[in-house]
């Protein structure tokens, strides 16, 4: 019985027609292709893109150099050196993220006790050689300064889930 059914299915191109039906359905369905870069897909407030370092409203950098992000980073992409600043506070003298190593897991952001290191919505960045993707503290702070409004909005949206 099974053999007879198989014979007719093959003989009448049943599988082929089944496949073509799926293709045909999509031919007339709404397209989801986005014309990048003119068009963009929507992003969630937890999007994990390029990193940024934030400042407080008074312009003071947030990072206190606790090195928790360095410790938690599974890709060992973060390198931090710390020293005492003249005013006696603990500050980083070096804060580098090697984006060629980074796997964008977001652990750094999660571990940060002062919300200093964050991942922004930026994902369109490039480097022409490897060293361009080695982000230093001034670069990260600059990204933070430029995008602070969006970053703050995203953190506020996420706050009730934390």
């Amino acid at each position: 019985m099974e053999k007879i059914r198989d014979f007719f299915k093959t003989f009448l191109l049943f599988e082929l027609l089944k496949g073509m039906a799926l293709t045909g359905r999509y031919m007339f369905a709404r397209k989801i292709t986005v014309q990048f870069p003119e068009e963009k897909t929507p992003q969630g407030f937890r999007f994990r893109g390029l990193h940024a370092q934030r400042r407080y409203a008074n312009g003071e950098e947030r990072c206190i150099g606790c090195k928790l992000c360095e410790a938690v980073c599974p890709a060992l992409a973060i390198k931090i050196e710390v020293a005492e600043r003249e005013d006696g506070t603990r500050r980083t003298t070096q804060y580098d993220i090697d984006l060629t190593k980074c796997i964008f897991c977001g652990f750094c952001e999660e571990s940060c006790p002062v919300d200093a290191i964050v991942e922004t919505r930026i994902f369109e960045y490039h480097g022409e050689n490897r060293s361009d993707l080695y982000y230093t503290k001034p670069m990260l702070l600059a990204i933070g300064d430029k995008n602070e409004t969006q970053i703050a909005k995203d953190r506020a949206a996420d706050a009730k889930y934390r």
Partner: protein, 785 residues
């Protein structure tokens, strides 16, 4: 013994011990902050609350005596609830600044809060803030808000360091740990408070913000400083020593280390480190390759030994060098045909050379000090020269012992001293003779004829009789000779007479070893009378200047007994080769500087004052082109065509140098064949110099440790006189005076100390400011500037 049940485990414990002790025996951990095994019980943190059956309320385990049949539950509902409540109270005023706290990651409060505390804080009111204060250059007290008032630091000061430099002021919420108004913490053991502090209130100032605890890798090492040889844990970050903490060894350091051991690491990262071999050509220093430098040295030594004879070559090393280095140095010298090698750079009396039955040592294991009940300490700046041995003696005295002191200076030992005789250096021998005579009378013992004859005419003073009585009274006495006694121009006489005193009072007789490898130097044969016995000692080498000097770690102007003589010998030499980790004063007179690795960068062995050989490995890579000295000497041996220099590890050198099975028999303080001769009672009109080597100038590494150099103990030396001497001179404290010794004079400030005997001028040695003066002992003249 009583039986007590803890969490269902039955343990036997001694009557009178506490529940905490029993829990340790049972292997049950009870959380605690204020309890520490070496300190008295305060029971003020309440963290160790446990439930005891038939007791309605939880009890503090640290302060509850164990009783027979007691049943204790450390994790029951009641105990856990009590612990959680205590934790919540402790955290009410503790700031949530773990991310910037140096203690973060190795903090008892963090650990216990996670293990025994609640998940969230219910406290939303304002927290207490304690203003930061300064207590010196070693301990950071910037965040006293973190303090949980366990008072471990206070108890440490009172009980271990012997001086209460931190105390708790005010009451309840306002209570604060602080020093006395405007004073700093100056104890030579102060760094231990950093280890004791269970939170981040007392942290290390030099280490501040340099690393987090999880970034450090830990290597074991041994202290290269005083004779104790404390085992250390070297913490490393990025191939650099970041800090040093103690390793516990009940037989050596218990759980403490001195500040010298703890903070000297800064000297290892000093800017003065020598990183490339250097050659002087036409008065200019050139950086050269190792091969060039070593060939230059080998050629120079070949020439000198060929033209003037090998005995024109001399080698000096500090006893802070490792056993391997010293062994190879003496082997090199003896291989070349010269016996001129010495490590006893600060000694002046060598008349007992070859008459000792073995290497001078402590005469007993270090731990035995605690069992002694009578001490005679001869010529020692005990606290500064041997901080942890002093601590042990302090504990013994506290347990009913008596300390007696014969010395030329009466510095506060921070322990009760029963009897003391503080006399000018030339009188020390006579005082000891008095003690011996009084002791012989008290014990009704007969002394050998020559000793009897020597001390026959001595008049026994009351102080000496009191000392003798104290010694005779004890069951376990110890006669200990300090650095000052060993450096004394009559050191061998002092040794002979002390041995007699020890014999009569049935006491242990020992030397407090000056440096980490003082004993090792003897066992490595790095003394002139070893081998075939034809060699010059440290004093002769300088008195009869040689043509070539090899200096291993030695800075002649700071490390030698007679700095003046040492410098003139160096300047007149044809060739001076300085093996040193630092670019030091040798640039003036040396021809070659060879960069060698300090103790953290080389493997080696130190034999401490109790004769314990402790080997260690390099903790970090040598800086720049510095190399371990044993490798340098090994290659030099090959270049000089001395046979038997084909070692491929420092262990091979050690095994050749040291026969561990024979070691114990080589430690012997007995001296025979040194006739006793007392001074004639001639009074000296001039002042007699008394020299201490200040604790933070004692060796090359510690001299360059920045933070230690900012402490009071490292203040620039002044000349200290008795008040009457000041009057005679007509000067006031703080005035500048001209101090003359030999053909040099320096200008020093005057200080007054009425505890010094009259006729004494105390001028520290080992410091640049006094390095042009002559011998550490001798007469000195003071004039108004």
């Amino acid at each position: 013994m009583i039986k007590i049940e803890i969490d269902g485990k039955l343990v036997e414990t001694e009557r009178g011990s506490t529940v905490m002790d029993a829990a340790h025996k049972a292997g049950v951990y009870i959380p605690h902050f204020c309890y520490h095994k070496k300190l008295s019980i305060a029971a003020n943190c309440r963290m160790c609350l446990v439930e005891v059956e038939k007791v309605p309320k939880p009890l503090p385990a640290c302060a509850t005596p164990a009783s027979d049949g007691m049943k204790v539950h450390t994790h029951s509902e009641l105990a856990a609830k009590a612990q959680k409540g205590v934790m919540e109270f402790l955290l009410i005023n503790h700031p949530l600044d773990c991310p910037i706290c140096d203690q973060g990651g190795e903090c008892q409060l963090q650990d216990i809060a996670v293990g025994y505390g609640g998940g969230v804080s219910r406290y939303t009111e304002e927290k207490r803030v304690v203003m930061s204060k300064s207590v010196g250059e070693l301990i950071s007290t910037n965040e006293m808000t973190r303090c949980i008032q366990c008072t471990r630091c206070v108890r440490f000061g009172q009980e271990i360091a012997g001086v209460m430099e931190l105390g708790m002021a005010n009451r309840s919420e306002h209570s604060e740990i602080m020093s006395f108004v405007n004073s700093t913490v100056d104890s030579e053991l102060s760094g231990n408070m950093i280890d004791l502090c269970p939170v981040g209130a007392l942290t290390s100032k030099p280490f501040r913000y340099t690393a987090r605890s999880w970034e450090l890798s830990r290597r074991k090492s041994v202290s290269p400083h005083d004779g104790l040889g404390a085992p250390l844990a070297i913490h490393i970050k990025n191939n650099k020593v970041a800090r040093v903490v103690p390793v516990e060894n009940e037989d050596i350091n218990e759980c403490w280390i001195s500040d010298k051991d703890r903070f000297s690491y800064e000297g290892l990262n000093s800017a003065q480190r020598l990183t490339k071999p250097m050659l002087k050509q036409d008065g200019k220093w050139l950086e050269v390759e190792w091969a060039t430098a070593l060939e230059y040295v080998a050629n120079g030594l070949h020439q000198i030994s060929g033209s003037a004879g090998a005995e024109q070559i001399a080698a000096l090393a500090t006893p802070h060098s490792t056993l391997e280095e010293l062994y190879l140095l003496q082997k090199l010298l003896r291989g070349m045909g010269s016996g001129n090698i010495d490590t006893r750079t600060r000694l002046s009396d060598f008349s007992a050379d070859g008459k000792q039955a073995g290497a001078p040592w402590l005469g007993m294991p270090i731990a035995e000090i605690n069992q002694c009940d009578r001490f005679l300490i001869v010529g020692s700046f005990l606290r500064k020269d041997h901080p942890l041995l002093a601590q042990r003696i302090r504990q013994a005295v506290k347990n009913g012992g008596e300390a007696n002191l014969v010395h030329s200076s009466d510095d506060d030992l921070l322990m009760p001293v029963a009897n003391k005789a503080i006399v000018v250096p030339s009188e020390i021998l006579n005082v000891l003779a008095q003690v011996l005579k009084a002791l012989a009378e008290e014990k009704q013992a007969t002394l050998s004829a020559d000793v009897q004859q020597a001390i026959g005419k001595v008049n026994v003073a009351d102080s000496a009789r009191a000392i003798a009585h104290s010694l005779a009274d004890g069951k376990h006495a110890a006669v200990l000779l300090g650095n000052f006694a060993q450096q004394h121009p009559q050191a061998s006489q002092i040794s002979v007479i002390c041995e007699q005193i020890a014999f009569l009072s049935n006491a242990k007789f020992g030397y407090l070893g000056e440096a980490a490898n003082s004993v090792g130097a003897y066992l490595a044969d790095a003394v002139p009378f070893a081998g075939d016995g034809h060699g010059m000692n440290a004093a002769e080498m300088l008195a009869k200047p040689r043509k070539a000097y090899l200096l291993l770690n030695v800075e002649p102007e700071l490390d030698m007994h007679d700095a003046q003589q040492a410098m003139s010998a160096m300047r007149s030499a044809d060739m001076v080769v300085a093996l040193s980790a630092y670019k030091h004063h040798a640039t003036e007179y040396a021809d070659v500087l060879l960069p060698i690795a300090p103790f953290t960068e080389t493997s080696g062995t130190f034999i401490n004052t109790e004769g314990r050989a402790q080997s260690f490995k390099g903790a970090v890579k040598p800086l720049g082109e510095a190399r371990p000295a044993w490798k340098v000497l090994r290659v030099l041996g090959n270049l000089m065509d001395v046979s038997g220099f084909d070692y491929d590890s420092s262990e091979a050198v050690r095994d050749e140098a040291l026969d561990t099975a024979q070691m114990a028999s080589k430690l012997n303080n007995h001296i025979s064949g040194v006739p006793l001769q007392l001074n004639s009672a001639a009074t000296v009109a001039d002042l007699q110099r008394v020299s201490d080597v200040p604790i933070y100038y004692a060796d090359a590494v510690v001299r360059r440790a920045d933070s230690l150099q900012k402490t009071h103990d490292a203040a620039s030396p002044c000349i200290i006189l008795h008040g009457n001497e000041l009057q005679k001179l007509g000067v006031q404290c703080g005035d500048l005076v001209t101090v003359k010794q030999g053909d040099a004079s320096v200008s020093l400030a005057v200080a007054m100390d009425d505890r010094l005997p009259q006729g004494v001028a105390r001028v520290a040695a080992g410091h640049q400011a006094t390095s042009t003066l002559g011998a550490m002992f001798g007469t000195i003249t003071v004039e108004r500037a």
